[in-house]
């Protein structure tokens, strides 16, 4: 930001900002509902039950109804991709049928789990039989397949350049994708509200940056307000 520009911006002090923030009343129930929405949408049934007990927030849905979704997630996060896929097929056979990308990601995850288990032969067989045909049809898939098979080339695949695939986060990612697809097939929201609100916060700050200097939230994890640098 240039000197001339800076002069045209309004500067808001931390005190004034805090005052404004304090004047906004967010009912605790709304906050609780946001959290419950997150837990339910992401399929954390037990946590939702606990939260309901502690806060008295109704989950809004029959928690038993999300058991299947939770089990799918649990299977996937536990590395049993096949069980997760079978369960999804029982739940709604169209989900994997109609979403090639999701289907590929699940098969890719299966391959990763095979590699993780050290079963090289089975991994290669699987890659050839189940993944190669998918990659033939889609160059994007091919690239991802190549990256995944590259795991086999390293002694310690976790510290390899494609080590991220071996990470728990990769399972989490695939699980979330599948969870969203199931939710959508049930005509429910794909994503919880909470991350959406955080995105909204970042967007609003970016908009505001052009017009004013104000106490920003720099780190979403801490939500600490950083006062604006003094301008002369």
């Amino acid at each position: 930001m240039g000197r001339g520009e800076a002069g045209t911006k309004k500067t808001i002090s931390l005190e004034a900002w805090q005052q404004k923030l304090d004047s906004v009343q967010v009912p605790k129930e709304d906050m609780n509902r946001l959290i419950m929405n997150f837990l339910v949408t992401e399929g954390y049934v037990e946590a939702a039950r606990m939260f309901e007990k502690e806060s008295g927030t109704p989950p809004g849905v029959n928690l038993d109804a999300i058991t299947d979704r939770m089990e799918v997630r649990r299977a996937l996060q536990g590395g049993d991709v096949e069980a997760a896929m079978e369960r999804v097929n029982d739940l709604d056979p169209e989900i994997l049928e109609s979403q090639p990308k999701l289907f590929f990601h699940l098969q890719q995850q299966r391959l990763i789990e095979l590699i993780r288990g050290g079963n090289v032969e089975a991994a290669l067989d699987f890659a050839q039989e189940a993944l190669a045909p998918l990659a033939e049809e889609n160059s994007e898939f091919l690239e991802e397949l190549e990256r995944t098979v590259a795991l086999l080339a390293f002694e310690d695949s976790k510290s390899s350049p494609v080590g991220d695939l071996m990470d728990v986060a990769q399972r989490q990612k695939t699980a979330s994708e599948l969870n969203a697809a199931i939710l959508h097939s049930q005509a429910q929201e794909r994503e919880p509200r909470l991350p959406l609100l955080l995105k909204l916060l970042l967007w609003a700050q970016a908009q505001l940056d052009e017009r004013a200097a104000y106490p920003r939230v720099q780190d979403l994890a801490t939500a600490q307000l950083v006062p604006p640098a003094k301008t002369d």
Partner: protein, 958 residues
């Protein structure tokens, strides 16, 4: 967490490599059919390679056999419901994206067995059957507008998009023909739709209940919470703010109590929507009561996918089923719901909502049509501006703006002409020399019905009456009445895009000159002209309609159309100029579609009016007999509008035409036909609708215009069809060439004034004919009788009959008589016709003079209270009547003839005087409100007195 289950992975690897053959063997011989089916299911879902492998091993037949067995043995199977369920899932998966399987499934007649499942008491079985039917129908019907790379909703099962051309799913007509739902199947599906849509509350089977390995067992539970959530959902609906409901976390998730039912309703709606893309099944669906179910679903369901399916089905059915439109409009919620969907985040949903609005807003009972149209237009215009949705917009837009000039203006102001023209120009089929295979396929495919052909195929839908009514409502413009092409836009792609563009452009250009100008500037006329020869009827009709709209402006004719046609003709080795457009349009006069013929006739109408080269090329292309054939009465295949356009074209063809053209018209068109057209009274012929009456009266008027044009002197004498100025160029009459006289004689003779060979032969024998005419050998009144009838009708209406004797001394300025405009017009044409005839040779004049009735009627109109439109031509008749005949006065070679003419003039003047014309003319001169009439009356009076031999006549006037 990370280390979990290496054992299961090995099992997975082993199972994964299990060969299709082994699994199918297990299915045949193994003890656990369900287990084998599930294994197959988990192999084939999502994997095209696996599907292909299983299909090649005969999986389709085998699984179908399993399903059939279940149905046969009933309860004797171990777990028949589970077997049915899993078999249906496998069948649905095999059908998905593999035309080969689809054909095989059709060959094995699988649908009845799936339909049977719909009657099961086990909801899971119903669901599985419905899902399989949905997948099969989805694959065997043309793609919807949702066939975009990013599926709108997973459960509407969009075909996977792939980049490899070999793997791409062909959406051609071949697999589309494979599976169809009959009435019984449709009834079962609609039953699912209705019962599921109706179940808004109560016991809910939770789809997600983890009942063992199946996960599909119904469980009646959680009714308290579900009911509460339902209440919330209802409130949210009442508030018409689903977004707000979601924000508070109550709505969609709370619906899981009856989630399966709702999902089934969505699937049933999807099946119906698929079926509606094909005409016959649409009829079956309508007959099965689908519209009501879809409507209910649209209004009550909170599931976006259900709403979308309902919306698609309705958008396809409403144009063909007026009762459904009325039912929809009777629901107070429908307006709000459609307006909400018009703001949906999904462009395709907005488009479908706009399509429904376009249809509903044109239903007579629609109370908010203007508001709805105004809401839909900007949405459509924005969708048109987006390349992704652009191709689907024109058809809807055309339907929306067709009947509303304000909307046309609004659309034109938004640069729509340019966008549509660009779309038209980017269409490969209109730019290439020959229609592509795709367009040919589209034209051949029965899934693209022309709106007009719907009725006969489908007796159960009273669409014919509705389209008829719509046709009547828009008859003046000659528009396609039904927006059937909107539905087809979803179905057949390219040709529908073309048709939509052309129709929308036709609407925009019909009454708007600035739109025509914009279209000229867009330089797409070549494409438009090429579309005249498109394989699709709808495209041809729309192109002809657009050409018609453009032909209303001489500039666009001269500067664009004729050139464009010439250009395309030059490429094909033909000549330039109008030579190419005319034959194309003439060819369309024999099109099998009424719409096409009608629009082509209307376009020809304008084309031949001003361009002599166009007249010639229409004749050369054989247009004359075709136009004449289209004026035939009592033909069910020729609606009144088409007759009118054809006759109008003939009338315009004769406007300022040279003798050759007029002779050709007379040769092709029997006078008896013309008489008939004149005699068909509006009340007699199907005057149920006001528009019909208009067409009938238009017929008689154009018949008179045609006669009047035929009676005009040779080229350049004056306009005949337009204003009443034709014979007012008095000076010209004396200079009329002898060809005029022969022409007029030919007209008289054509009209059967005397019986003799017709046409060119007659022209060759003109001298002889004139001779005979001079001798007064008449066998009938022909044309003169027609003229007499028309003028007498006006006299009767004005109450002037038998009043000739009392003329002269009445009040100075009597009140003008009000006559029906139609009557005045016809009589005026007849009077001008008479006046023109009187500019002919001695024989013609004599013939008119001999027609006492006509003369009396003309004289009766020489009154101050007669409106100028009639009084003026009546005076002209008097002037021309008292003028020496051309042949007599101008011919220096025949002195005897001149002397005879002088005598004849005297005789004619005396005849007029006997009828009291002198007093009447004097009166007219004195007190007719029109200055023009006064002046002409004086001229007539002077001539009358001079001709009668009295020099005192002129003094008396001055």
């Amino acid at each position: 967490m990370t280390g979990g289950g290496s054992g299961s992975q090995e099992v997975a690897a082993v199972r994964m490599v299990a060969r299709p053959r082994e699994l199918l063997k297990e299915l045949r011989e193994g003890p656990d059919t369900v287990k084998a089916l599930k294994a197959i299911k988990n192999q084939v879902i999502g994997s095209k390679a696996k599907k292909a492998a299983f299909i090649s091993e005969g999986a389709v037949q085998q699984v179908v056999e399993v399903l059939k067995d279940c149905s046969k043995r009933g309860g004797s199977a171990v777990r028949p419901e589970l077997v049915q369920q899993q078999a249906a899932v496998v069948i649905g998966s095999l059908a998905y994206g593999t035309p080969a399987a689809l054909r095989e499934l059709a060959a094995h007649g699988v649908v009845p067995y799936l339909v049977e499942m719909l009657h099961s008491s086990d909801e899971a079985v119903v669901e599985a059957g419905l899902r399989a039917i949905k997948l099969i129908m989805h694959q065997s019907t043309p793609p919807s507008i949702f066939a975009t790379p990013e599926p709108v909703c997973s459960s509407s099962a969009c075909p996977p998009t792939t980049t490899a051309p070999t793997a791409a799913i062909p959406t051609s007509a071949a697999p589309c023909e494979a599976v169809r739902l009959d009435a019984a199947a449709m009834a079962a599906v609609v039953r699912c739709l209705r019962s599921s849509a109706a179940s808004t509350g109560g016991s809910g089977g939770d789809i997600a209940s983890g009942a063992g390995g199946t996960g599909l067992g119904p469980s009646d539970g959680g009714s308290g919470e579900a009911a509460a959530a339902m209440e919330g959902a209802k409130q949210a609906e009442a508030a018409d703010a689903p977004a707000a409901a979601v924000m508070h976390g109550t709505a969609p998730q709370g619906l899981c109590g009856s989630q399966r039912r709702r999902q089934m309703a969505a699937m049933a709606a999807a099946v119906v929507a698929c079926c509606c893309r094909r005409e016959e099944e649409r009829c079956v669906a309508i007959a099965a009561g689908a519209p009501g179910g879809l409507l209910q679903l649209l209004l009550e369901s909170e599931r976006p996918d259900a709403q979308v399916s309902a919306l698609e089905g309705l958008s396809l059915m409403l144009p063909h089923h007026p009762p459904a439109c009325e039912a929809a409009l009777a629901c107070p919620g429908v307006y709000g719901r459609l307006l909400t969907l018009l703001r949906d985040s999904e462009p395709a949903v907005r488009l479908l909502a706009a399509g429904c609005i376009a249809t509903l807003s044109r239903v007579p009972g629609c109370t908010q049509s203007e508001a709805m149209q105004r809401a839909a237009l900007p949405v459509l215009l924005r969708l048109l501006a987006q390349p992704a949705t652009r191709p689907h917009v024109p058809a809807v837009l055309a339907t929306l703006i067709e009947t509303s000039e304000p909307l046309q203006k609004a659309a034109a102001d938004a640069d729509t002409v340019k966008l549509l023209a660009g779309l038209l120009a980017s269409d490969p089929a209109t730019t290439g020399a020959a229609p592509t295979a795709a367009t040919a396929a589209a034209a051949a495919s029965p899934s693209l019905p022309p709106s007009t052909a719907v009725a006969p195929v489908c007796p159960s839908c009273p669409s014919s009456s509705s389209t008829g009514a719509a046709a009547a409502a828009t008859a003046a413009c000659g528009h396609r009445p039904s927006p059937a092409s909107f539905s087809a836009a979803a179905a057949v792609g390219a040709s529908c895009v073309r048709e939509g563009c052309l129709r929308a452009l036709g609407s925009l250009c019909l009454n708007r000159d600035d739109s025509r100008k914009q279209l000229l500037e867009a330089k797409v006329l070549r494409h438009v002209v090429r579309c005249l020869a498109d394989p699709s009827e709808g495209v041809r009709a729309a192109a002809a309609q657009l050409v018609r709209a453009l032909s209303r402006c001489v500039r666009s004719l001269r500067g664009g159309l004729l050139e464009a046609a010439g250009g395309s003709g030059a490429a094909a080795g033909g000549g330039g100029g109008s030579g190419e457009l005319a034959p194309l349009l003439v060819g369309l006069l024999e099109d099998r579609s009424v719409e096409v013929r009608s629009a082509a006739a209307a376009a020809l109408c304008n084309l031949v009016l001003d361009f002599s080269s166009a007249k010639a090329s229409v004749l050369a292309a054989g247009g004359l007999p075709r136009l004449v054939a289209l004026t035939a009465p009592h033909r069910p295949d020729i609606p009144p509008r088409l007759r009118l356009h054809a006759l109008w074209a003939l009338a315009n063809l004769t406007f300022r035409a040279d003798a050759g053209v007029r002779a050709a018209v007379m040769q092709s068109l029997p006078f008896s036909r013309l008489r008939q057209l004149l005699s068909e009274s509006p009340s007699a012929a199907a005057a149920t609708a006001a528009a019909n009456e208009e067409e009938e009266s238009g017929l008689s008027e154009q018949a008179m215009v045609l006669l009047r044009n035929l009676c005009m002197g040779s080229s350049g004498v004056g306009p005949g069809a337009g204003g009443g100025s034709a014979p007012s160029r008095g000076g010209h009459f004396h200079a009329s060439s002898s060809s005029t006289c022969t022409g007029l004689a030919a007209v008289l003779e054509w009209s059967g004034y005397r019986s003799s060979p017709r046409g060119t032969q007659a022209l060759q024998q003109q001298q002889a004919v004139q001779q005979e005419v001079a001798e007064g050998e008449w066998e009938g009144e022909g044309l003169l009788a027609v003229l007499r009838e028309q003028v007498e009708a006006a006299v009767r209406e004005a109450g002037l009959q038998g009043a000739a004797a009392e003329g002269g001394s009445s009040a100075p300025s009597p009140a003008p008589i009000a006559l029906p405009p139609r009557l005045v017009q016809l009589a005026a044409h007849a009077l001008f016709c008479t006046a023109n005839l009187l500019t002919g040779g001695a024989a013609t004049k004599h013939a008119v003079a001999a027609c006492d009735g006509l003369l009396r009627a003309v004289v009766a109109l020489l009154r101050p209270q007669v409106p100028e439109q009639l009084a003026l031509p009546a005076v002209w008749c008097a002037i021309n009547f008292t003028w020496p005949a051309v042949g007599g006065s101008n011919s220096s070679s025949a002195g005897g003839a001149a002397a005879a003419e002088t005598e004849a003039v005297q005789a004619r003047c005396r005849t007029l005087q006997v009828l009291g014309a002198a007093d009447l003319l004097a009166e007219l001169h004195r007190c007719h409100p029109s200055r023009d009439v006064q002046e002409r009356a004086r001229t007539a009076l002077e001539q009358l007195r001079k001709g009668a031999g009295g020099a005192e006549a002129a003094d008396a006037v001055n």
